[in-house]
């Protein structure tokens, strides 16, 4: 097989080797799979498909389709099917992979862990896909001429000079001035364009420890209302003597973590509706961020009350108990500069000195 193939190559290429090439070598019309598809007429493409589909509006309107009524059919049935024939209930406990009765995977709608969604195609995501992502890719492009070799960087972890015999087999040392290894920023290409990964809404309610837990309940309801997701509560890790907060005893904060559709809807309404209504606000501070692409800013209680979800039943919240919160936007950018580029393209204004 292999021999015959190579001889075929040989037979093909031998005569051509002696024929002078007519076309200039530098230029040839690129033809890829995509333009082959586009060059074919759509009629040819569509001919292979079925002309009617269940989802298309002009689907077949036969008599059977018109008269189909599953509810009436089920009512008219004299004997009900046994439950086990049409209803599967997932086991309540996961007893390990060797147990004969396994729960279905979480992606199965019959699973107890199933979360439905998405319910819509968020506007923010469409903006990102259609214009922001490609612009960021263009802006962050760095051109290296052919044959360019990036200068050698020294290793991030330092080695031990073998001045002492005890240095043998020691693990490498961290960088000077601190043990933290910063994230490496790789050149931005088509597959690592920064995007918003998740948003964390966090609210620390000190009165929950000082007065009563009602503050925590109100904060939880408010954060749930603006974020469309359940909150988690946390105990304090640090001791604050002036507020009388003891670590490990007082539950003082609520957090909601948003991903996917919830995150995009929250981001959209925060940028489009809430931020412009904040009084005397000139944006997020340019020095905000944890230098690895996550930007945090705070909202005062009166700003949280501007969310339309809280506005709609503002009276239901006890007066002065609506919490302020910190909102952290986690992006896949590796530096704050890239994250700020992304967020300002998505509509968050920044002011002041930009710190990377």
């Amino acid at each position: 097989m292999a021999a015959s193939e190579s001889s075929r190559y040989l037979a093909r290429s031998l005569p051509r080797a002696f024929v002078p090439s007519v076309r200039p070598q530098g230029f040839c019309v690129r033809r890829n799979a995509s333009d082959q598809a586009s060059s074919r007429s759509p009629a040819v493409d569509l001919g292979e498909l079925e002309s009617t589909g269940a989802l298309l509006p002009g689907a077949s309107e036969s008599e059977a389709v018109k008269s189909f009524d599953p509810a009436a059919l089920a009512k008219g049935r004299k004997k009900q099917l046994p439950r086990s024939r049409y209803q599967f209930r997932s086991p309540k406990y996961d007893r390990g992979p060797l147990h004969p009765h396994r729960p279905p995977p979480p992606s199965d709608p019959s699973s107890r862990l199933y979360v439905p969604g998405p319910f819509s195609l968020p506007r923010v995501d469409q903006t990102y896909q259609s214009s922001v992502a490609s612009d960021i890719l263009t802006l962050c492009y760095v051109h290296n001429p052919p044959g360019f070799k990036p200068p050698q960087k020294s290793a991030r972890l330092r080695t031990w000079d073998d001045s002492s015999p005890y240095h043998k087999n020691r693990p490498l040392r961290g960088p000077r001035g601190g043990d933290v290894l910063r994230l490496l920023r790789k050149p931005i290409t088509f597959n690592n364009i920064p995007k918003i990964e998740r948003i964390t809404i966090h609210s620390y309610v000190k009165q929950a420890a000082q007065e009563n837990s009602g503050w925590l309940h109100v904060a939880g309801m408010a954060v749930q209302a603006i974020s469309n997701s359940r909150v988690e509560t946390f105990k304090s890790k640090t001791s604050v003597a002036t507020w009388g907060i003891v670590p490990g005893r007082d539950t003082v904060s609520v957090k909601a973590e948003l991903r996917g559709e919830n995150m995009l809807h929250f981001f959209g309404k925060m940028v489009d509706i809430v931020m412009p209504r904040i009084k005397d606000w000139d944006g997020v501070k340019g020095s905000s961020g944890d230098s690895s692409g996550n930007i945090t800013f705070g909202l005062e209680p009166e700003n949280v009350a501007l969310f339309p979800e809280i506005e709609v039943n503002y009276d239901m919240y006890p007066p002065k108990m609506i919490p302020g919160c910190h909102i952290t936007i986690h992006t896949t950018a590796k530096t704050d500069k890239d994250a700020r580029l992304l967020l300002s393209a998505m509509g968050i204004p920044f002011y002041g000195k930009m710190v990377n």
Partner: protein, 340 residues
Amino acid sequence: MSSGSNGARRIASVLRPSIANPGVCRSCQEKTLGRRSYAAAATNTAEISSSPSSTTAFPVIKPSYTINAGVLLSRPPQITRDLTPFEKAYFFYQKRLNERLALPFTKYFYFKRGTPADEDWKRKIRERQTAARDIGKYNAYADDAWNDELLVGAAESEPDHQVEMLVQDAEATVNATSQDTSKKEEIPRPFSRMTEADQQGDMKSLNRALQRTLYLFVQSKDGYWKLPSSPIEKEETLRLAVERTLAQSAGVNMNTWLVGFHPVGHHVYNFKKPRLDEANGIEHRGEKTFYIKGRIMTGQADLTVNTQGLKDFKWLAKEEIPKFVGLTYYSNIKNMLADR
């Protein structure tokens, strides 16, 4: 056998690189060719750097191509795209599943008992059996909750229908809770997703094809369509040349933003026969155009002041472009264009 085949293969590979082989796909072949040339370039530069006597690392070559600066001026999509039938059906089905799986709506957190809003809400719930307005009549807690699939031809999954339901609900609330029953409150419906320019087929308007990215094409004095471009002058960067091109071709009555300083694509045009310039002994083989991406914010193209003899302009979406430009030109520019 294996050694024999290897030998044959080796000969074939030696012979192959000079000519495009139909057995290998062209892009791959170009890639390998390109790689080879890069490697060669790398070895060249390495040699140069290793020998300190050579003074010029980059020898000056008289260009045999005219270098043009082009601008890919685009208007990003203004509205969200239409959903595909599959997406509509999927989102609708997920909403009905969610009806069963999410926590029930906490009515008394939003409506105080006994208020008109509460009465209105109760009446509506009796009518549509669920809190959501956009999933049709469906009770997730009833005996026939299993019957959650839409029948053929049902309108409930259409976004337009869902928006209409929301607006009707709001109007009903306003009319039920307002004091004077004489006048009916009208809540404005969303604007149409098709504009006048779409219906009239006006390709000059920026108000057309709101869901698509539009690109500015101009018609040169010879009658063919192209992206605005002009030759780069001496002592001019690509970006400056693009700004000048934009001002000279489509006028200054546009608020534009050029994205970055790097070209996003290029187009090479070879003359049929190289033109020889006797004075300098340079052979002009054609034109190379490099395109910088731009976004239009406000304004409109205006050809009355152009100095390039342009006759006409159009704002085109991606799939309309092949009707106006040549096949080669389109195949060179199409990878710069956004899908949507």
